[in-house]
Symmetry: C4
Subunit: 206 residues, 4 copies
C-alpha cells in the first residue's frame, strides 16, 4: 500500500520529466499509480501535464467502471492493474518516435529489438543477446473494446522472445509500466531510446 | 471581453514557450489575442519573443488599417479576427518543420494528415480516422494581398476533409488560432508534432 | 565607442545562448566585439564558453599582431574588423549543421539559399525572393594565410546574389557578424536555421 | 593526488551535464576519477546519474577486484587506470549516436574521422588533416574478459592513424578518458559531435 500523497508526488515529477522530453504534447497522455489491491490514482483529462498539481488527480476503484472526469483512456490503465498484481504504475505518452515506429510495426503486430545493451533497463532482461518484443496494437476510439484487444495481444507471446513492459497503439503512442513509478519511468526512457535507434536505422543508407 | 493585462500575460507565456521550442527564431513571429469585438493586442515588430514585456504589445482596432510600429504581418492577424468571431488568439511562428513541410505542400495547396491520435488535439476533431487538411498558401511580401489569398484558400474546403485551425505560408511558417491562447497553443503544438511525423516519413526508407 | 564592460556583458550572454544551442562544443569557438576604431575585446583561448567571466576576455589592438593568450583564430576576427568599419561584433562557432553543410559547399565555394522568409533576418535582405549566398572557404591551420584567403573570397561576389553576413570554413564552422552583438546573434541564429533546412532537404526523399 | 571531495564534485557536475545531453539514459552509464596511484572513486550501480550525491560514490582499489555495490562495468574502468598512469578520469555513457555508430563500425573494428576541425579537441591532435580512429569492440556480458579484449584492441594501432582517447562497445556506448574530469568531458563532447556528423552523413543523399 502506497499513500496517495507519495504516489501523486512521484507522478507529478514523472510528468514534468516526460513533458520536458516531448512525450506529452498538446495536453495528451495520462499517468497513474496503484495505491492498493483495489485503488489507484490517475491524472484528470485535458490538463497540461508539465505542471500538474495534486488536485489534477482522481482516485480510481480498480474493479469499477471509470468515474466521470477521468480520461477516456482510463480503461487501458485499469486493465493493466487488474491483469497483473505486479503493475504499480502506468505511464502513457505520445512521442514522435513511438507514433512513427508504431505505424511501422502495426502490420507485424510488434517491433523486435536485439543487440542493444540498453535492453537491460527492462526488468527481467539481463543481456543484449536476447530478442525483446514491443507489442503493437491498432488504434481505436472504443476504448473498452481496445482494452480487451490489448490484453489478448499481451497474453500472446511468440517463442524465443521476451516482452518489454510496454506496448504501442499504432499512430497513437506508448503505454509503459513497472512495479514503481521509477521503474515505469526507466522503462519508458529505455523504450524511447531504443525505438529512436530503430527509427534512425530506417533513415540511414544501408 | 478579456482584459488587456490577462491577454498580454497569456501571450508572454506562450511566446516564452514557443521561443524555447525553436518556433520564433531570430526575432521572427508574432502573437495576438482578441480583447473584444473591435480590439486585439499584438506583439510589436523586431523584439526578441523569448523575453517579451507588457510594453512590447500594441492595441489594434480590428476594423482599421494597422497602426505604425506593428509588424508587417499584422493584416494576416486582422483578417482572421474579422472573418471568424470565434478566433480569440493567433500565433505565428517559423519552425524548421513548418518551413520544410510548407514547401513540400505548396504545389498541392495543402498537406493531409490521417491516422494520428494527436489529430484529436485540434478543436472539432474526435477521431484518428478522419483526414485533416492543413492549407498551404504561396508566400508573398504584399501582405494585404496575401491576406485576401489566404482568406479565399481557407474558405475553400475539399469534400471529405476537415481543416485544421491553422495554415502554412510556403517557405515561411505557420499561423495557428483558437478560442483562447491556450487553445491556439495546443493547436500549434499538435501541428508541429504532426508535421514533424510527416517530415520523418519523408526521411525514412519505405 | 562602446564601453568594454557593456561589450563583455553582451558577449557573455551571447556565448551562454550559443553554448545552450550546441554551437560551442568542447570549449571551441570564440566571440569578439569592437570597442572603437582601434580596439576590440575577444574571448581567451580554451575556456568553457557556456560560463564566461569578465576575466576571460582580452583587449585587442585591431592593427597590431594578436597578443599572447588570444585564440589561434584571432587573425580571422581582426581581418573582419579591419576590412569593414561597420563590423561591430563577430561570433565564431561549430554547429553540426554548419560543419556538415560547409563540407557539402566546399567544392562550389558557397551555399545558396532561396525562397525562405527567414532570409529577411539578414541585414539588407528584404524578401524571400532573392538568392543569398553563404561563402565557403577550405579550412587551414595557417590562420594568417587563411585570413587572406577569406578576405579574397568575401570580396568576390557572383552577379545576382547577395552575400549573407557570415561565411563557413569547411569541416570547421561558421563566422557571423553584425553592427552589434544582437545583430550578429540574429544572423547566426538565422544561418543555423536556414542551413538546418538545407540539411533536412539533403535527407529527404525527392 | 586529488582529494576525494574534489573528484566527486567534478564527477557530479559532469554527470549532470551528460544526463542533460541524453548520454546517461535510464540510469545507465558510470563515471570515475583517479585519486592516486592506487585508488579511484566510481559511481554506485543503478542510481539516477542526473542527480548524484556524494554518498552515491564508492572508493576503488585499482589493483584489487571490484568491491560489492560497484557497477558490473567497473573492470573496464580499472583496466584503463592500470594500463595508463595518465588516465585521471573515465566517463562511460550510452548516447543514441554512439550506439548506432558503434554498430556500424563493429565489423571494421573502428571508425575513422578525417577533416574535422573539432578533432583538435582530442589531446594530442593538432590539425584537421590527420586521421583519427575510434576503436570499436564487440559487446559482451563477461566484463572481465571484455576488459582484456578492449586492452588488446587499444594496444593495436594501424599505421597512419591516431587513436582518439575513447572507444565504443558495439550496441552499447562509449568510454572516454583524460588527465582530468574536464579533459575527459571535452573528449566525450567532441566524440558525440563528430560521431553525430558521421551519422548525419549516413542519412544524407550522396
Amino acid at each position: 500500500v502506497v499513500t496517495a500523497e507519495h504516489a501523486i508526488d512521484s507522478l507529478i515529477e514523472a510528468a514534468r520529466w516526460m513533458s520536458a522530453r516531448g512525450l506529452l504534447p498538446a495536453t495528451s497522455g495520462n499517468l497513474s499509480a496503484r495505491l492498493s489491491e483495489t485503488h489507484a490514482v490517475i491524472t484528470a483529462s485535458g490538463v497540461d501535464k508539465g505542471s500538474l498539481r495534486p488536485q489534477d488527480f482522481i482516485v480510481l476503484e480498480l474493479h469499477e467502471p471509470p468515474r466521470p472526469g477521468t480520461s477516456a483512456e482510463t480503461p487501458l490503465h485499469l486493465r493493466l492493474y487488474r491483469d497483473d498484481a505486479d503493475v504499480g504504475a502506468v505511464l502513457h505518452g505520445h512521442s514522435m518516435v513511438s507514433t512513427l515506429m508504431s505505424q511501422r510495426g502495426e502490420r507485424e503486430g510488434g517491433l523486435r529489438l536485439h543487440g542493444y545493451e540498453l535492453q537491460k533497463a527492462f526488468a527481467g532482461v539481463g543481456t543484449h543477446d536476447v530478442t525483446v518484443e514491443v507489442p503493437v496494437v491498432p488504434n481505436g476510439q472504443d476504448v473498452e473494446a481496445l482494452a480487451g484487444i490489448v490484453a489478448t495481444r499481451l497474453a500472446s507471446r511468440a517463442s524465443g522472445v521476451v516482452h518489454a513492459p510496454c506496448y504501442l497503439l499504432a499512430g497513437h503512442g506508448f503505454y509503459g509500466w513497472g512495479r514503481t513509478v521509477a521503474d515505469a519511468r526507466r522503462h519508458v526512457e529505455a523504450l524511447d531510446f531504443l525505438l529512436g535507434c530503430e527509427l534512425e536505422k530506417a533513415r540511414m543508407r544501408p
